[in-house]
Subunit: 306 residues, 2 copies
């Protein structure tokens, strides 16, 4: 029995929110469906934020509802606050991510709140969600945990304190996010160990960007520390509006290739996943598409190793 690793596709949110074009709703739904049918079991399909600020995400309610039609797909949405969480709940999302920047500077740019205030917002979300009829998972991420384009180095202690505060607020899971892609494998190991020693299994996921080309090396370091869940974006779309020079998320297609080649089971059919890049390109034709496996072609050794 191969060990399972969960790949959480965040392209429809982290990727498309940065795109110059706005992907039509119907096409976005088809793209999400294609990825789900390729075996992706969790997708962050959008974010509930003011359409005036992020017009690319204006159709998130409709997108959540259509994604829920995919059998077995865990439908996630990003929400910056309680209002967003209420909208996600109304749409029927299975869970929400909430960005909590460990960097004060990034936190204020991103959510207009400091880190501690945003942790309080998460606590309000927990309180409200737990009082509802239907469960909805609350899975915030410690953003800028590996460094910040605004504040520079982020002290490990502050990341640990933020993760602990979130765990104490009663969330279901905590992710560590290298929002701007400044992290390195030694730092990934150190941070995963430090946070896990305080909150244990509540640390579930890494969210990595490939800004410096270290994305998959950082994923490998996390994998070897026991992390079994990773955010990534098809074709490596993504970025951060408050991080100049930051590039996209780690490339889902390449991540799947790495994990399957190493003998892990992602449940994803790489051929079908790569085929779904066409729908993405159709929706945002002006975005650069990254990824090495799709360019080189899946090697003949792939099936043997997997």
């Amino acid at each position: 029995m191969k060990e399972k690793v969960k790949v959480c596709e965040v392209g429809p949110r982290d990727g498309l929110q940065m795109a110059h074009d706005i992907m039509p709703t119907e096409l976005k739904s088809r793209w999400i469906a294609a990825m789900a049918q390729a075996g992706v079991t969790e997708i962050e399909v959008g974010s509930f934020v003011p359409a005036k600020l992020v017009p690319q995400m204006a159709d998130t309610d409709a997108i959540v509802r259509s994604a829920l039609e995919q059998p077995g797909l865990r439908v996630m949405a990003l929400v910056p606050n309680l209002r967003g969480a209420q909208a996600a709940y109304a749409a029927g999302a299975h869970g929400v991510g909430v960005p909590v920047s460990v960097s004060e500077g990034h936190s204020r740019s991103n959510t207009r709140k400091g880190t501690a205030e945003q942790v309080e917002e998460v606590a309000r979300i927990v309180e409200w969600v737990r009082a509802q009829e239907r469960p909805m998972a609350i899975e915030p991420g410690c953003a800028t945990a590996f460094g910040c384009a605004i504040d520079g180095e982020i002290a490990l202690d502050k990341v640990v304190r933020t993760a602990v505060a979130l765990a104490e607020a009663g969330v279901d899971a905590v992710a560590l996010a290298d929002t701007v892609g400044y992290g390195n494998p030694a730092q990934v190991r150190a941070l995963v160990r430090a946070v896990r020693s305080e909150i244990g299994g509540k640390l579930t996921k890494l969210h990595l960007h490939d800004t410096m080309g270290l994305g998959l090396a950082n994923a490998l370091a996390g994998l070897e520390e026991g992390i079994r869940s990773f955010d990534s974006a098809l074709a490596g779309l993504g970025g951060c509006p408050f991080a100049p020079g930051a590039s996209g998320n780690i490339v889902t297609d390449d991540l799947v290739f790495m994990l399957e080649s190493m003998g892990f089971d992602t449940g994803i059919d790489l051929d079908r996943l790569i085929a779904s890049r066409e729908l993405l390109h159709e929706g945002v034709p002006n975005e650069p598409m990254f990824g090495q496996v799709s360019r080189a072609g899946i090697p003949k050794t792939y099936r043997v190793q997997a």
Copy 2:
């Protein structure tokens, strides 16, 4: 004291041999000098192969001689056979690499000899070099050790046997080369362990390509297995004429960023190294230049972590 890792720049050989343009000799010399002055202590500056087959390498004799003027630089050349080794010796190279493909198919395409015959060629080189006045290091690489575009999967046993045969032939060091970039981190760990258990410290180096995007993750796996020497190419140039779809070497600039960020000492000034990309681009203006750090800019956290 930080632990040292040696970065061996192979761009002037592995990169330029695949380029459409031929870099002028004077510019190539200046580029090599710029990298040496940025702190690169070992450069594979060219190969002694028939100019008719690889015109980009026709000036290797002159390039070796000019590179020898850089203080502290270890000047390496690639040679396919004894004749090439004799030319490298005459030029004054400090050492030679010799490709020995573990894949029979790739070996015959690349050197017109099977694996065993090429090992015999290495033995002839050793015998000849040891009889000369001046020492010259002989450091063959087991090419296609992680898979082959022609022969597919390569059995671990065959890689080990080839490495053992080379060690028994009396070479100074053996490298493992992922010539086409099919390797994965688990395979790197397994192969390094298996080869080292047979030839010990004679296994010194990994030569990795980024075809599938796993280059730095594979380097990390090797690093964690104790490898302290890596081939790489500035801007990720390179490829393999007998490996369709294979892309370039791992990117020197990104590798240095990773190693230094993790607390290793490469001796390389990353700013100056990145600046030397301009000379490369001037010489081969039509080649795509890869690398994430140069694109994003060295982050403000870099100095602190290093």
